[in-house]
């Protein structure tokens, strides 16, 4: 093994029922290196990290850690900590109601000779740890009094103080502002000096170039390659992440039409939701398919949510069909003819313990109101129609939706919205986790809807499918609408716009 290498993983393979989550992935981390792990949704980043930290149990491949003979296999996060791998997650796994010092030392507090915990000593030690990291906090204050950035830092300090060789930062920056990110970087660089190897998972390209030395890219569970930052400029990185070769889908794009003359469907002025989307203006015309591009966390979903009222917009005005409207919750938007398929199917889409039929008619019923129940015959008719139309594979329409596969669940949610016959339909990642055949079907369906004069907002991580289906694209970066592309959309143009910086 190379002298500097602290962790190597070779040929890691892992399957979830029916899906190959990782196949033959390699990863190498050296001492004093900040190594970015990149890839779009479903690329296998978090699966790989869970394999390293013992949460997932990989089937093939092995892992080595410097200073330990033979392959290492962790079975729990505790195991991982014992071999020197610590992880800091996006959600801070600390106790907000305890002081900073307690969070650093809980479970391993120094004791006095009376068998009580030695507050003085650990307060002093904690203060030193935080001072060493260059973070000015009063360690006796409760953690909840500090910003997320500081909390993140405390989590890192706890990990580092527990003598770790490998520090995994899993999207620690998604909820931090620029200044806070800078602070975090300072700490990361300091740890790097001390020889800690850091694995950094992020969706923000700028951050990769600001702080990382190496980049490993994964795509669809496959290892794409390990690069130094210099050899992989932004556009190439985006291309590596998105992949250019996944396209064996038929060219299904319709001829381009100029929609700017057609009626206005949605018009937003200065709409914003504090903390997720900065104020944006957006006009959408009837019959358009408008794509929203950007990396995960760029605000692409949040833009749609603020229009739909899933996150109530704090500022700005919204016009629907040239009428100014106030949307305070989704039902208001639905009554204006909108519908939204959310990206997190499990948390916001399916009602797991209800049947396929109930899931399909739910939105239509909600629009009708509680006391105007759809007759059972009508419910059956609607459910059957969509099961047939979208070829949903289910034992019967009375099967619980949670028993269906992900793709079929997604089709049920799609059916739920089609049943309401919306004028403006937002589809947030409708094709995620779905096989290629179904993907094409959904894309065709989008074009068909547009052909019928409906307006569709389409959000996806796969640029290829957006380029194929959209007339126009809005590009989001870091919560801001940075660009609008129309005319001839190509993957390269879109990627450049998403990457930004060096046009």
């Amino acid at each position: 093994m190379d002298q500097d290498v602290v962790l190597t993983a070779r040929g890691i393979t892992m399957t979830f029922p029916g899906v190959k989550a990782l196949s033959n992935v390699d990863f190498t981390l050296r001492k004093g290196e900040i190594h970015a792990l990149m890839g779009e949704n479903g690329a296998g980043k978090s699966t790989l990290i869970k394999c390293l930290t013992g949460i997932n149990d990989y089937e093939a491949g092995e892992m080595h850690i410097a200073g330990i003979e033979g392959p290492v296999k962790n079975h729990s996060t505790r195991d991982a900590q014992n071999v020197g791998i610590s992880t800091v997650y996006q959600e801070v796994n600390l106790c907000p109601n305890l002081s900073v010092a307690e969070n650093l030392f809980i479970g391993r507090e120094p004791m006095t000779k009376f068998g009580t915990i030695d507050r003085k000593s650990y307060n002093k030690r904690s203060q030193k740890i935080m001072d060493d990291l260059g973070i000015s906090v009063d360690v006796t204050q409760n953690l909840e009094n500090y910003s997320l950035a500081i909390q993140q830092m405390v989590a890192i300090a706890r990990a580092v103080d527990m003598d770790c060789k490998v520090l995994i930062l899993d999207e620690p920056t998604s909820s931090l502002d620029e200044e806070e990110v800078e602070k975090l970087f300072k700490v990361m660089r300091m740890l790097k000096e001390k020889g800690v190897g850091i694995i950094f998972v992020t969706h923000f390209l700028e951050q990769v170039y600001a702080v990382c030395d190496k980049i490993t890219v994964l795509r669809n569970g496959n290892f794409v390659g390990e690069f130094t930052v210099e050899e992989l400029p932004r556009v190439k990185l985006v291309a590596a992440m998105m992949g250019k070769d996944l396209d064996d889908l038929a060219e299904i794009k319709g001829e381009s039409v100029d929609y700017s003359k057609s009626e206005m469907e949605i018009s937003a002025k200065g709409l914003a939701h504090v903390g997720t989307v900065k104020p944006f203006d957006l006009d959408i015309h009837k019959g358009e398919v408008i794509g929203v591009g950007g990396l995960l966390g760029s605000g692409r979903s949040e833009l749609a949510r603020s229009i739909y009222g899933a996150d109530r917009a704090n500022t700005g005005t919204l016009k629907v069909k040239d009428k100014e409207v106030k949307i305070s919750q989704p039902i208001d938007a639905m009554n204006l003819g909108m519908g939204m398929l959310p990206d997190d199917r499990k948390a916001e889409g399916i009602i797991g313990d209800l049947t396929v039929r109930e899931n399909i008619i739910l939105a239509l019923q909600a629009k009708n109101g509680m006391f105007k129940r759809l007759p059972k015959a009508k419910q059956d008719e609607i459910a059957d129609r969509y099961i047939d139309l979208l070829s949903i594979k289910t034992a019967s329409k009375e099967t619980l939706i949670k028993q269906l596969s992900g793709g079929n669940q997604q089709k049920c949610i799609l059916a739920r919205w089609l049943a309401t016959n919306p004028d403006f339909l937002i589809l947030d990642e409708p094709t995620r986790g779905i096989d290629v055949g179904t993907k094409t079907e959904i894309q065709k369906l989008i074009l068909k809807l547009a052909g019928e004069g409906k307006t569709v907002m389409f959000i996806s991580s796969e640029i290829a499918e957006m380029v194929r289906t959209c007339n126009r694209m809005v590009i989001m970066r870091d919560g801001e609408k940075v660009n609008e592309l129309d005319g001839d959309l190509t993957e390269e143009r879109v990627m450049k716009a998403i990457a930004g910086g060096e046009e």
Binding site: A310, Q329, P330, I331, P342, A347, I351, G352, L362, K367
Partner: protein, 363 residues
């Protein structure tokens, strides 16, 4: 081979039958009765015998242990209706129903007798005013609980704790610290007899019918379950989660008012300290016994109702076995623990593992 598979299929069907738990419990209770009767030399089927008896006070009435259970179990059955909806929508329990029963009864009797009057034969206001007042008071309390839970986001148990301790006390205050007797036949009707049938049974049947029809004819049931299972997704699909949770508490309070009225009518008085005492526990137990998860989501109304009568059957049986009213809770406690323990995730996981191992061994 084929019959084997058929047998297995039948077994899984039985295993997944939502009413399995309450029905099995009910059968167990009946079995205990039969065995006990047989052992003491009484006709083993005396549990099921219903007869018409002549009484001096009420004329010809139905008589029998089953009638008694149905009669005495009415209040818990009525409460269990509301409690089921509350548990489903908010994954919490309304512990104030017993106190609210007492308050509703006190308010009703106070109006019927007039403030400060401890005993009356004449009604101060028409009966219907008193009845509506009881229902109104129940609904008001329900609305208070619902506001705290749905709109202020307070844990159900904490929110309902307030009325749990205050409602009974307010009732006492309304009655001027007295037990108010309304010795008027018309008031005794709700706890008395309609023809040969005890009126509480009829009232419970009406309440059950109203809820069943509402659930059948509107989509309230789906709304409540949907919110209980996944309130975020329900909101995105256009349901007003908060309003639905509020509604379930309102209904629960209203039924507590009905139950309070029945309970007070039985004794033609408002005994604030004793009406509805521990009824919240029985109502919650009925829901759990009915096979409903106290974690919210899917509910089964029929289960809760059977659960409510099972509890009454247990109580009646215990009395028949010579256990005193005061001692009965010991057995209830043991039953509660057994029911929740067999549903606990670690125990379920253990048995699943066991049966898997067995399956492997067979293969």
């Amino acid at each position: 081979m084929n019959t084997d598979r058929k047998k297995a299929h039948f077994l899984t069907k039985v295993k997944n039958w939502p009413l399995l738990l309450p029905v099995v419990s009910l059968i167990l209770v009946m079995a205990v009765n039969i065995v006990h009767d047989a052992a003491t030399g009484v006709n083993p089927l005396s549990f099921f015998i219903i007869s018409l008896n002549e009484t001096t006070s009420n004329g010809t009435i139905l008589y029998g242990r089953i009638i008694d259970i149905l009669n005495r179990g009415s209040e818990v059955a009525i409460l269990a209706l509301g409690m089921t909806l509350v548990v489903s929508s908010s994954a919490g329990t309304d512990i104030s129903v017993g106190s609210v029963m007492s308050l509703s009864a006190s308010f009703c009797c106070m109006l019927l007798a007039g403030y400060g009057v401890s005993s009356t034969n004449e009604l101060a206001v028409p009966l219907v005013v008193g009845v509506l007042a009881a229902l109104f008071m129940g609904a008001l309390c329900g609305a208070f609980n619902g506001t705290l839970v749905a709109y202020l986001g307070i844990q159900p148990m904490v929110a309902t704790l307030i009325l749990f301790s205050a409602a009974r006390a307010i009732g006492l205050l309304l009655c001027n610290d007295l037990i108010v007797y309304v010795r008027n036949d018309s008031y005794g009707y709700f706890g008395g007899f309609t023809g040969p049938i005890p009126t509480p049974i009829i009232i419970a049947a009406i309440c059950i019918a109203i809820v069943a029809i509402t659930l059948n004819k509107t989509s309230m049931g789906m709304y409540i379950q949907s919110v209980g299972i996944n309130s975020k997704a329900s909101r995105i699909a256009g349901l007003n989660s908060k309003r639905i949770i509020f509604l379930t508490y309102l209904i629960c309070g209203l039924f507590a008012g009905v139950a309070g009225l029945v309970n007070s009518s039985r004794i033609t008085s408002a005994d604030s300290n004793n009406i509805g005492l521990y009824y919240e526990m029985d109502a919650i137990l009925a829901v759990a016994l009915g096979g409903n998860s106290l974690g919210g989501g899917k509910f089964n109304l029929a289960g809760s109702i059977i659960g409510a009568y099972t509890i009454q059957a247990i109580t009646t049986t215990l009395y028949a076995l010579g256990v005193s009213t005061d001692q009965a809770p010991v057995f209830k406690a043991i039953i509660v623990i057994i029911i929740v323990a067999i549903q606990a995730p670690p125990i379920k996981a253990y048995f699943r593992k066991k049966s898997l191992e067995k399956g492997v061994a067979k293969a």
